[in-house]
């Protein structure tokens, strides 16, 4: 070994424990998943691509996947729409308000997802806060079904994943040169025009980063999807769970997992690559 490569391997020494953990807890299970998905029967007989063909030829499975990706996209979009006003208020605020807003954004991250999800059940339930309030105000005649609906799920997931959106958007707004917005205003642009033509395009990298994070997190949020969506809406995480634990069809569950993983990461990479192409002109931000 040359002295240079000895130094290089010395430098790698500290990361060995993490690499070992990553290998044992991620690479090996993933390899096992790939291996399991290649069996034709739940009894692990016969290697084939049968499970993948089964997925592709099954309209129900395809619908579950597209619904799941749609849920992720909708939640990420809702979070984006909510995050911008919050980020604009943050950037315009003084130090005290900034600290307060940061604290409020971070607070949900300090509680368990299960707790946050149960809070939404209490709010959305048949006897929940919204229904009780609307009924006692006489605005609604009968309790509305909010829990176990698509909209309820989007709402709960949006709130739960909002920090993942707010932080990157705030970060890119903070890096935006204040003179650019002053220049736009000075040239006669209204607030709305300034936002659409200057602020939004120049903070798009942060928005896209946040969108991808929320998209991936919402699409794969097993606990919230299951508890707020109930058994009525079947999405990929619960579908995989059902196939693995309920039906005991491990090969199909493994194939579903891999297809789902590929779909989510594929979208993340595709949008990431597209945005990098677009963002070339914005290297100043």
């Amino acid at each position: 070994m040359t002295p240079a490569s000895t130094t290089a391997s010395r430098q790698l020494l500290p990361v060995i424990p993490l690499a070992a953990l990553f290998f044992a807890a991620f690479v090996l299970p993933l390899a096992a998943l790939v291996a399991i998905s290649l069996f034709r029967t739940p009894q692990f007989a016969e290697l084939s691509l049968a499970q993948y063909l089964r997925f592709l030829s099954d309209p129900f499975s395809i619908k579950v996947l597209s619904d799941t990706l749609l849920l992720g996209a909708e939640v990420a979009l809702a979070a984006l729409v909510l995050a911008y006003p919050l980020a604009l208020v943050y950037v315009a605020s003084g130090q005290f308000m900034r600290t307060l807003i940061t604290f409020l954004i971070m607070l949900p991250l300090l509680t368990s997802t299960v707790v946050r999800t149960f809070a939404w059940i209490v709010i959305l339930g048949r006897d929940g806060i919204i229904n009780s309030a609307m009924l006692s105000l006489g605005l609604w005649q009968a309790p509305a079904r909010l829990l176990y609906t698509w909209e309820g799920m989007v709402l709960a997931l949006t709130q739960i994943q909002l920090p993942l959106m707010a932080l990157p958007v705030i970060n890119s707004l903070l890096r935006l040169d204040g003179n650019l917005t002053r220049a736009a205003e000075g040239l006669g642009a209204s607030r709305a025009r300034t936002f659409v033509t200057v602020i939004l395009p120049l903070t798009l990298p942060g928005a896209i980063a946040g969108w991808l994070l929320v998209f991936a997190a919402a699409a794969t949020a097993f606990i919230t999807q299951t508890l707020v969506g109930g058994g009525r809406i079947i999405l990929m995480p619960s579908y995989i769970y059902q196939q693995a634990v309920g039906v005991q069809d491990w090969p199909f569950a493994a194939a579903l997992s891999l297809v789902f993983t590929l779909a989510v990461t594929g979208i993340v990479f595709a949008i990431g690559a597209l945005s990098r192409r677009y963002v070339r002109g914005i290297d100043a931000v």
């Binding site: 040169d177 002053r182 220049a183 736009a184 205003e185 000075g186 040239l187 006669g188 002109g281 100043a284």
Partner: protein, 370 residues
């Protein structure tokens, strides 16, 4: 082009405070239409606050801002029709040069054909026509500045505000750009206010200079008057270089310098006998002289620095004060050997300024504020 395109601007008793900190106090300024004014002062003097108040980004705590005689404090920045040129140019990095210049016109919902004509005209004036399709990141500093000015002028502003417009440029390019931009602004006939901490920039650009210090106006005057007749010791040392010599008033028109001689100013210094004063003499107003000349100051030469056309020599007086002499190189060489003892004389006593402020005050003040 006519010289009346711009607004006249009046600031009347403007004051502004950020919390307990007073940023501006008792600001009164009348700018005529088409005039080019420089707001000059060290950082923290309040010039940026003043610019933001004129632009409408900041509402003054008190006082009135008038464009053509009409009050505008309540009008937000985006309806004041002001062209702004920022220190870092603040070009929109995601838009082409063309779209940057077109931005203000599009915000006014100008028809496309008219936008194209106007932008072409502006890019022509700024000599940037061939760069229309480029992004700002692909331009040099000087080119970005031309685009920034074209963008500001495209909206036919009544007033153009330039915030430290040359500070990001190379020193060599700076004078060229100053000349170019001054001529563009004058051609346009627009009222312009340039904020700067660089006295050379203010002297070369402005019709009149407003010197700000600690939130107050110290003097408003044309560049020559400011240089030759500074109203305060602060200005005499902030604008250009100067020698500050300690002295004492002996007669109504005479001051005895600590450095040795008594100088006859030929005019009343308007101070009582015995008053300690500071005498400000520009380096180019000092020359090498003969011992017998009245008012000659004996010094020991310390060093000579050739600066191209002129040489600057520093001598030390018997009282320990440093005196700089700036003279044509040829006049200097023979006499200014380090260590030699020579006599200096003040060439033009009418261009000497007298202040009551002690020298130490201004030097400590400058260290704080520059």
């Amino acid at each position: 082009m006519s010289n009346t395109r711009g607004h006249s601007l009046d600031l009347m008793d403007i004051g502004h405070a950020f919390g307990a900190t007073v940023a501006l106090d008792g600001i009164n300024l009348a700018v005529a239409a088409g005039e080019l004014i420089a707001l000059l002062g060290p950082s923290g003097c309040g010039k940026t606050t003043m610019l933001q108040i004129i632009a409408g980004f900041l509402r003054p705590s008190r006082g009135e801002v008038r464009f053509d005689g009409a009050r505008v404090e309540h009008i937000p920045a985006n309806r004041r029709s002001i062209g702004m040129v920022f220190q870092n140019y603040a070009l929109f990095p995601h838009l082409t040069v063309f779209e940057n210049v077109a931005y203000g016109l599009r915000a006014r919902k100008t028809a496309n054909a008219e936008v194209a004509t106007k932008v072409e005209q502006m890019l022509g004036l700024a000599q940037m026509t061939t760069f229309a399709r480029r992004l700002p990141g692909e331009l040099s500093g000087g080119q970005q500045q031309r685009v920034a000015l074209a963008r500001a002028l495209a909206i036919d502003p009544g007033l153009v505000l330039l915030d430290e417009p040359f500070s990001a440029l190379d020193k060599n390019l700076r004078l060229d750009m100053q000349i170019e931009i001054k001529s563009l602004l004058k051609t346009f006939g627009v009222t312009s206010i340039i904020v700067t901490h660089d006295q050379e920039e203010a002297l070369s650009m402005a019709d009149r200079i407003v010197v700000l210090n600690k939130g107050r106006i110290e003097q408003i005057d044309n560049p020559d008057a400011l240089y030759d007749r500074p109203a305060s010791l602060f200005i005499s040392s902030f604008i250009g270089h100067t020698n500050l010599l300690r002295g004492t008033v002996t007669e109504t028109d005479r001051v005895l310098l600590d450095a040795g001689p008594e100088i006859d100013l030929g005019r009343s210094v308007q101070r009582r006998r015995g008053t300690p004063v500071t005498v400000s003499v520009r380096p180019e107003n000092v020359e090498f002289g003969a011992a017998e000349r009245p008012g000659a100051i004996p010094v020991t030469i310390r060093v000579t620095v050739p600066l191209g056309a002129v040489s600057v020599t520093e001598g030390i007086t018997a009282s320990g004060e440093a005196v700089k002499i700036s003279q044509a190189r040829a006049a200097t060489t023979a006499k200014a050997q380090a260590g030699s003892n020579v006599w200096l004389a003040i060439s033009d006593l009418s261009r000497v300024s007298i202040f009551s402020t002690p020298v130490d005050d201004v030097s400590s003040q400058q260290q704080r504020s520059i």
